[in-house]
């Protein structure tokens, strides 16, 4: 969809991240006989989770003695086919799974495929027309019976995947092996974390962050793409705008505009009309650091009134709270663009930053002011329900003040 090239993963194009070294140290630790709990990386779209998993799978751990990585990609990586000990959920299969009301049968087909491929790749396939349970048992037994081998299971894009598939994956593979001392599980994803049944996957974990690239690392990334990425680099200094976000670095270096970066981040929404509508919701809400249901109506009203679309402004104003949640909030959450964190709904941090940058342009600034004014009114009204001088009143008046000052 994007007019700008997004190259497929190549080992030479990968920029070292501190998180990679931490993971390698943990793998060494497991290899020397100290078991380690699962690692979880939660980060926004384009921050490099998939490349990190691919780099571990295809470069860092490839050919290493007594280490076998298994990669489960729950989102199809750009222009790559699954190799040995890898399985990718295709875009078509993901779409089919999201649309089918009877998920169990589809999940069984997918898990049969995943475990069947691993069983074949690992050379433990022994029967004809095996059941899902047999395939699962073969793979689990392969891990159990090789205590001298360290198995690194990489589950990429987990949180944005269908919960029915994750439930099956947990029961058929992850839960039975998570406590094996020779197994390390790395889970990545964006959006709301999946509530695994097994406490060993959910509560007894180590969270790692995937920080943006620094300014010099951003330059290094662009140099690498210039030399080996096969794309036309126009700008080499993009850090101020990209803030080190790997995907934005590459797009902006090709002279993409901030609007193009936003479009690329939203490209995960396949249907164009849906994508456009969700973008409008995000634009309306982006002046807020975080929001709750009570923000939706006034912010959408201000947005559509500014855009001179009174029918839309009235439509959202008339909606009841539940309807508003279903028609606005749930759709943003469904695409993992928004999730609850620290007392409010928060957008993917990079998307939020680029939306704000977009609205700060000369052309869009009046709309940003109108939205800030709406936010200010919301907080003034909320402050009124609390006793004078109370912490809550003070908090909301401070919030209102923040938006008033921003507009000055």
């Amino acid at each position: 969809m994007s007019a700008f090239a997004i190259p497929a993963y190549q080992p030479d194009l990968f920029c070292d991240r501190p998180t990679l070294n931490t993971i390698k140290e943990i793998i060494n630790q497991v290899q020397s006989g100290s078991p380690h709990c699962p690692i979880v990386i939660q980060a926004g779209r384009g921050s490099g989770k998939t490349w990190l998993c691919l780099h571990l799978q295809r470069s860092e751990l490839q050919g290493k003695e007594k280490i076998t990585p298994l990669l489960i990609g729950l989102q199809q990586p750009v222009n790559l086919q699954a190799e040995k000990n890898e399985w990718f959920l295709s875009n078509e299969a993901a779409q089919e799974l999201s649309q089918t009301p009877e998920k169990a049968a589809t999940v069984e087909i997918l898990l049969n495929d995943l475990l069947g491929k691993f069983a074949q790749d690992l050379g433990v396939w022994v029967g004809e027309q095996p059941t899902l349970g047999e395939r699962s048992a073969w793979v689990i037994n392969a891990l159990q019976r090789t205590p001298d081998t360290t198995w690194v299971i990489l589950v990429d894009s987990a949180f944005e995947s269908d919960w029915a598939l994750l439930d099956g994956l947990e029961k058929r593979l992850l839960a039975p092996v998570v406590t094996l001392p020779n197994v390390l599980i790395l889970i990545t994803g964006r959006g709301k974390p999946y509530p695994w049944q097994s406490p060993y996957l959910r509560t007894q974990i180590q969270m790692l962050s995937l920080d943006p690239l620094k300014e010099d690392e951003t330059k290094e990334q662009i140099e690498k793409f210039l030399n080996k990425g096969g794309i036309r680099i126009v700008k080499r200094s993009v850090f101020k705008q990209s803030q080190g976000h790997p995907l934005a670095n590459i797009l902006l270096a090709q002279d993409a505009k901030i609007n193009d970066v936003i479009e690329e981040l939203l490209a995960i929404i396949p249907e164009e009309q849906e994508r456009q509508q969700i973008r409008e919701f995000l634009e309306a809400l982006c002046p807020l650091d975080s929001f709750v249901e009570g923000h939706l109506k006034p912010m959408l009203k201000a947005y559509y009134e500014y855009r001179q679309r009174p029918e839309d402004a009235q439509r959202y104003e008339r909606l009841g709270r539940s309807e508003l949640r279903q028609q606005v909030l749930d759709r943003m959450i469904a695409h993992s663009l928004v999730h609850w964190q620290d007392g409010g709904y928060q957008m993917d941090p990079y998307l939020l930053a680029y939306l704000r940058l977009y609205l700060s342009s000369e052309e869009n600034h009046p709309m940003l002011e109108a939205l800030r004014q709406a936010a200010q009114s919301v907080y003034v009204n909320w402050a009124k329900q609390f006793p004078k001088g109370s912490n809550d009143e003070r908090y909301y008046l401070e919030q209102a003040q923040k938006f008033a000052q921003a507009n000055q």
Partner: protein
């Protein structure tokens, strides 16, 4: 009226179900999903004998179920085979107290049942063993499951999926996905093979452990619960302690053979606690922040991860769970769940008369009702 207003409230919050419905952990089918990372779980998951002491409603059954389910989920790959040992179910009377051999026989039988049910969900684990290993396991199960005999359970497995067996005899496994019919049929067929039962002897304990060790288990967890379920146990904790002593004082001996006792006991038994060198002693206490997480976890699951706090359904109210926990009569999960349930019902009743957002009046009224009723479902009155 009541049902429809509650349904309205659940819809208003985007809840798929009422996460505060079950005050009794053993009745809650979603317990495993609600679990928060309480440090007690980590302690009790270790392969070391443990005594967990807790007040009613502090979550000892929840903890016992959580440990059992974690083992069941990892059946075959996990260090421990979970054995649910619910005392009143096996020994309805305390007087006379069960003899040591009676405990051993009951635990072995429960262990055999746990192994059978676990294998019925993962038949491949059994079918992948050599014929001689399969025969030895069959003989062991036949020796330990006599009344009713192994055939009785196999008959149930032939006629229904393993979840029926689990629902009836060991709910630890009831949430697992059943296997395909073919391997289950093969399992039943293999286990039907005739073999001479072994005579009962304490040596069966060692033999059993060796057999499950060959299947990949590193230990057997005896999850002892229900000590507060005996009639009059609160008034006469000494009698319950006397019934448990023959088992608990042998904990080190059991542990030396791979059988690790995890006793989930009422606080009244703490003065009678067993040798502390053999056991890790854990008091199940709850801090406010943990109780807040108990409520938030349930909201997260019920809303399918959309949110984790009642704050999301308000216009400007903040820290609702903190406020609720601050009003608990006792800092226990059951109390917190009860108050949150009261809030949900209070909102349901008021929202039925109009108004969509949760407001401070709902919270104040719920706290008042909770304080008065001590958990009696107020809307049913």
């Amino acid at each position: 009226m009541f049902d429809s207003s509650l349904r309205y409230a659940l819809t208003a919050f985007g809840f798929q179900f009422n996460p505060f419905e079950h005050l009794e952990a053993s009745q809650d089918p979603r317990l495993g999903e609600y679990l928060i990372g309480h440090e007690a779980l980590e302690l009790v998951s270790k392969p070391q004998a443990a005594q967990v002491f807790a007040l009613p409603g502090a979550g000892k059954t929840a903890l016992r179920i959580a440990v059992g389910r974690a083992c069941a989920l990892a059946f075959g790959g996990q260090p421990a085979l979970p054995v649910s040992y619910n005392l009143p179910e096996l020994f309805p009377q305390l007087n006379p107290p069960p003899a040591p051999d009676a405990h051993t026989a009951a635990i072995l039988r429960r262990a055999a049942l746990s192994l059978l049910i676990g294998l019925s969900f993962r038949p491949e684990l059994f079918l992948s063993r050599s014929p001689s290993e399969q025969n030895a396991l069959t003989r062991l199960l036949r020796s330990l499951l006599r009344t009713p005999p192994l055939e009785y359970y196999l008959g149930m497995l032939r006629n229904a999926d393993p979840r029926r067996l689990a629902e009836r005899f060991d709910r630890t496994y009831a949430f697992l996905t059943p296997p395909a019919p073919r391997p289950l049929t093969a399992l039943c067929q293999q286990l039907s093979a005739a073999s001479t039962p072994l005579p009962f002897s304490p040596d069966l304990r060692r033999i059993f452990f060796e057999q499950v060790q060959a299947l990949g288990f590193k230990a057997i967890f005896i999850l002892l619960d229900g000590a507060d379920g005996f009639a009059g146990s609160v008034e006469a904790p000494d009698q319950v302690a006397e019934a448990l002593q023959p088992l608990l004082r042998e904990a080190a001996d059991w542990a030396s053979q791979g059988w690790v006792i995890k006793a989930f006991l009422p606080m009244e038994l703490r003065p009678y606690q067993s040798d502390s060198t053999a056991f890790q002693t854990i008091a199940l206490d709850w801090q406010d922040d943990e109780l807040i997480r108990v409520l938030q976890r349930r909201i997260y699951i019920a809303s399918q991860g959309q949110t984790e706090t009642f704050d999301a359904f308000c216009d400007g109210l903040r820290g609702i769970e903190t406020g609720l926990v601050g009003h608990l009569l006792r800092p226990l999960p059951r109390e917190a769940i009860c108050l949150a349930n009261t809030l949900l019902h209070t909102f349901a009743e008021r929202a039925g008369r109009g108004g969509e957002a949760l407001c401070s009046a709902d919270i104040e009224q719920a706290i008042q009702r909770y304080s008065i009723s001590l958990g009696i479902p107020v809307l049913q009155a």
